[in-house]
């Protein structure tokens, strides 16, 4: 297998680097426009002033979690590739590594959420109110849900993820220099314990950051739910980045149709896995019909949110399921790109579904503001990705399993 390459072909396109300030500017302006929609347009046109700030906080969290899940998905992807000694992914692994290295950057965007707690606002997290809304929440605020502990936990999650990501990235970069195969072995060895740590922290982060918005509500599957959506969105993002790079004339040799096929399969698989988890959560709560749990769905099935909730069945499951079922689509770059974009939108709708209905009814201007926020966050994500990827070769050139990634072929399916 010929592994010769031109150095420029595995670097970020120069045009992209030039785009960074534009993207950053666009991102920030979108956020500002979004905030304007929430704080000024929504109250002045739709009248309800008390909800304006509430919408803003919920929308910010939803959009933040949205872009964070790409990085979380990337982190899990790296861990599982080493855990299973995978060879096929060697040539696309660096892209995921760069994405996982965005966790420390993204953690800065969580500061506003913590700040909100420390100015004693209960707009986002109802348990932060001076007087807890009910006795159950009051009991929780005594032992678990109080701002200091919440902040410590949040910092801990980011710290653990950053630690894992940085360690893996450093070794990966070191291997670029030395080509030492032991560096693959050491990552392989530690992937197991790290994945345990990851699973634990992701579960608790999901409980803390998203589930505790409804401090009354609880669902043990919630961490898995967020994980399923994250992985699906991560593969969508990978496909989009890969195709964009190839369109810019980079990575042509390193990302083959087989890689696209595999990423497509994973996307398809996680569409099904998300549906499985979402259905499991729904049917158990629907069937048992206990008011302590059903109210969470009730909120999402009224005030126009029902269109989103029912829409997810089609948008997040049925349509992409049928779209990705054919191997011809999964091996077709344009087809795959279309479904990746679809899936990113579906994941954004899912994050909206999880968080926004708690703010209030679905009305026009808050939704427009939320949309601007989402676009803004994506722009910021893109800018940060370019920033992080600058100066880093986009392929781990001296990975011992690279030849395997270049010559494997998908059997039948």
């Amino acid at each position: 297998m010929n592994l010769n390459y031109e150095k420029a072909s595995i670097e970020l396109p120069a045009s992209w680097k030039a785009l960074t300030p534009v993207l950053a500017f666009a991102g920030v302006s979108c956020l500002i426009v979004g905030a304007f929609c929430f704080l000024f347009l929504a109250p002045s046109v739709e009248g309800d002033k008390t909800l304006a700030f509430r919408y803003l906080t919920h929308s910010y969290l939803a959009n933040f979690i949205y872009i964070l899940t790409f990085a979380i998905g990337a982190l899990f992807f790296i861990l599982i590739q080493f855990l299973t000694r995978a060879g096929w992914s060697s040539s696309i692994r660096r892209l995921a590594e760069i994405m996982m290295m965005m966790i420390p950057y993204l953690s800065v965007l969580f500061v506003p959420v913590l700040a909100l707690l420390f100015v004693n606002s209960a707009e986002l997290y109802e348990w932060n109110a001076k007087e807890a809304p009910n006795s159950v929440i009051a009991a929780k605020t005594k032992v678990f849900l109080f701002k200091e502990f919440f902040a410590i936990r949040s910092v801990l999650y980011f710290a653990i993820w950053t630690m894992i990501a940085t360690w893996f990235f450093r070794i990966s970069r070191a291997q670029d220099e030395s080509g030492d195969t032991d560096l693959s072995l050491v990552r392989q060895k530690w992937a197991g314990p790290m994945i345990m740590l990851f699973a634990l922290t992701l579960s608790f982060a999901a409980f803390d950051w998203v589930m505790s918005i409804d401090a009354d509500w609880y669902s043990t599957i919630f961490g898995v739910y967020l994980f399923a959506g994250s992985m699906m969105a991560f593969f969508g993002m990978m496909v989009i980045i890969s195709i964009s790079l190839q369109n810019a004339g980079k990575m042509q040799k390193w990302i083959t149709v087989e890689h696209f096929h595999d990423m497509g399969k994973f996307m398809f698989g996680f569409v099904m896995f998300w549906s499985y988890i979402a259905f499991s959560q729904l049917v158990l709560i629907w069937y048992a019909n206990i008011p302590e749990e059903t109210f969470w769905y009730d909120v999402r099935l009224k005030d126009n949110w029902q269109y989103l909730s029912y829409g997810l069945i089609a948008f997040h499951f049925a349509i992409p399921f049928l779209g990705l079922i054919s191997r011809h689509v999964r091996r077709h770059r344009t087809g795959l790109l279309f479904w990746s974009i679809w899936i990113l939108v579906a994941h954004w709708l899912d994050m909206t579904f999880l968080i926004l209905p708690n703010a209030g009814p679905a009305t026009t201007f808050p939704l427009i503001g939320h949309l601007f926020g989402g676009v803004g966050m994506l722009c910021i994500f893109a800018a940060l990705f370019i920033l992080r990827a600058s100066g880093v070769p986009l392929v781990a050139m001296r990975d011992p399993r690279l030849p395997e990634a270049m010559k494997y072929a998908n059997p039948i399916l």
């Binding site: 678990f144 195969t181 409980f207 669902s219 399969k265 499985y276 988890i277 499991s280 158990l284 395997e404």
Partner: protein, 483 residues
């Protein structure tokens, strides 16, 4: 190449000297050891059914078939006398038989998981172990299916579970009941697994047919393999069908234990109604199934001298999956307990304290030590590559997984919302004997399978060997030259 010579070469080779568990990145370790050829693989596998069975086989089969006969007689006794011979009582109406059902259904997950999901993930090491695991799946489903069948009270009317138009009943089954979902899930799983297993065996049965000396064997195997020739046109459709079945069986295998978990989780019983049950049950099922596969394969490969095909690497990989799923199960236990506390729901909170420190504390701590702690020993490579220790740990895992179902079923029911109806379940002698007896059925079927059917998917192992040879050729840059 002379067949007899190859066989001698294969059997003279001492596989214990080869350790293929170490993996240098960039160079995959051999999946089958001992410089195998296509014909040596055929010899090694066919020998199992062609040679006279070792004495041990007769001893084991005698013992297990007697146990199976005892089990069947007990079923007769049960039908004549009613379920009162069991320890089921108020409020523990679902007791030992349901525990056994879930236990066996869980075991039944490994086979299809290995043949379907590992296939989709291109895990080539599955080829040596998938056949035996699939067989084990079918036999475990048989054991599992018996329990709900005899638990319905009037076992001879169990066909009422099926939606058939009846003039006498004027009724349909209740499709909104998770117990009926179970009928469909387990029924679909059993039949699809059977088809998957049988279809996978067709080419290998053809090999058995072509090597048969006696006309009877030739005819029976010939009928079973449907006249398979190995035509490439057939192989093409066959491979497509196999892949499709794998793609269908993968979600199916997840759905089965999910539906079993629904039996518990859609209720309002504290300790049952928790949303993580579906994935957690599936992880537990894979966990117990793999443990059972390892428990069976270690002696099988020793008895039939298959160490070159079922290598230490295969076993180590399975142990790693046991470690992963065991840890997942532990995570699920922790999540459940944490949410029980976090929810501040007094019933949930009580249930978990009751599990840990109530009258069934011994069951809970057996479960935790067997399921969560014992597989952690597999972090040590020494232990996960030691035949003795892996069997010990896997037996513990199976004990632990039985206790998990016991803990879930019995502790929650014995102390439910109404303290005046609390009770303490005690199994009767029949409960114990019928659990033991089901192992007799399971082992008898497995031993018969070893005796008559190909226990390793020869054609798949050869396919993997072909790829390996091809890569080796490519490495030597001798590719393209004939010979």
């Amino acid at each position: 190449m002379n067949r007899v010579n190859m066989a001698t070469v294969a059997s003279n080779f001492n596989p214990r000297e080869i350790d293929n568990t170490a993996d240098i990145p960039g160079r995959r370790a051999q999946l089958v050891t001992g410089n195998q050829t296509y014909s040596s693989i055929t010899n090694m596998v066919c020998r199992v059914a062609e040679d006279p069975q070792p004495l041990l086989w007769y001893v084991l089969f005698g013992f297990s078939s007697l146990t199976a006969v005892m089990f069947l007689s007990l079923i007769g006794y049960l039908i004549l006398n009613g379920v009162g011979i069991w320890g089921n009582m108020n409020p523990v109406f679902w007791a030992w038989p349901i525990v056994n059902f879930v236990f066996w259904v869980g075991i039944a997950h490994a086979g299809t998981l290995i043949s379907a999901i590992l296939f989709l993930f291109r895990q080539n090491w599955r080829t040596s172990i998938n056949r035996a695991s699939e067989a084990m799946t079918i036999f475990a489903v048989v054991c599992a299916g018996i329990y709900p069948g005899i638990h319905v009270g009037r076992a001879w009317l169990a066909f009422w579970l099926l939606p058939y138009p009846s003039l006498n009943l004027w009724m349909w089954p209740q499709f909104r009941s998770p117990l009926l979902w179970d009928v469909f899930a387990v029924g679909t799983y059993a039949s699809t697994s059977l088809v998957f297993w049988y279809m996978g065996m067709i080419p290998d049965i053809a090999t058995y047919r072509d090597r048969s000396k006696s006309p009877l064997r030739r005819m029976v195997y010939g009928l079973l393999c449907l006249g398979w020739t190995g035509s490439s046109r057939h192989w093409l459709v066959y491979e497509k069908a196999y892949t499709l079945l794998a793609a269908l069986a993968a979600p199916l295998v997840l759905s089965v234990h999910t539906v079993v978990s629904f039996d518990f989780a859609v209720s309002q019983v504290a300790g049952w109604h928790t949303t993580i049950f579906p994935p957690y049950f599936v992880a537990g099922a894979i966990f117990s199934g793999f443990a059972m596969v390892v428990t069976l394969l270690v002696p099988s490969r020793a008895i039939y001298k298959l160490e070159n095909l079922i290598t230490l690497r295969h076993l180590e990989n399975m142990n790693k999956i046991i470690l992963a799923t065991g840890t997942l199960v532990g995570l699920a236990y922790a999540t459940e307990a944490y949410i029980a506390w976090y929810s501040m729901n007094q019933y949930e909170g009580f249930t978990f304290l009751n599990r840990q420190f109530g009258p069934y504390w011994w069951a809970y701590w057996t479960m935790v030590s067997c399921n969560v702690i014992s597989p952690q020993l597999f972090w040590f490579k020494k232990l996960r590559t030691s035949l003795f220790w892996m069997v010990v740990i896997c037996v513990f895992v199976n004990i632990g997984m039985w206790f998990e179902r016991f803990v879930i079923t019995v502790t929650s029911l014995s102390r439910d919302f109404l303290p005046s109806s609390w009770g303490y379940f005690r199994p009767t002698m029949y409960d114990g004997l019928m659990l033991f007896g089901s192992f007799g059925i399971f082992m008898s079927l497995y031993l018969l399978f070893c005796r008559f059917l190909p226990i390793i998917a020869m054609s798949e192992v050869k396919g993997i060997l072909s790829i390996a040879n091809h890569e080796a050729h490519a490495h030597d840059e001798s590719h393209g030259q004939a010979h």
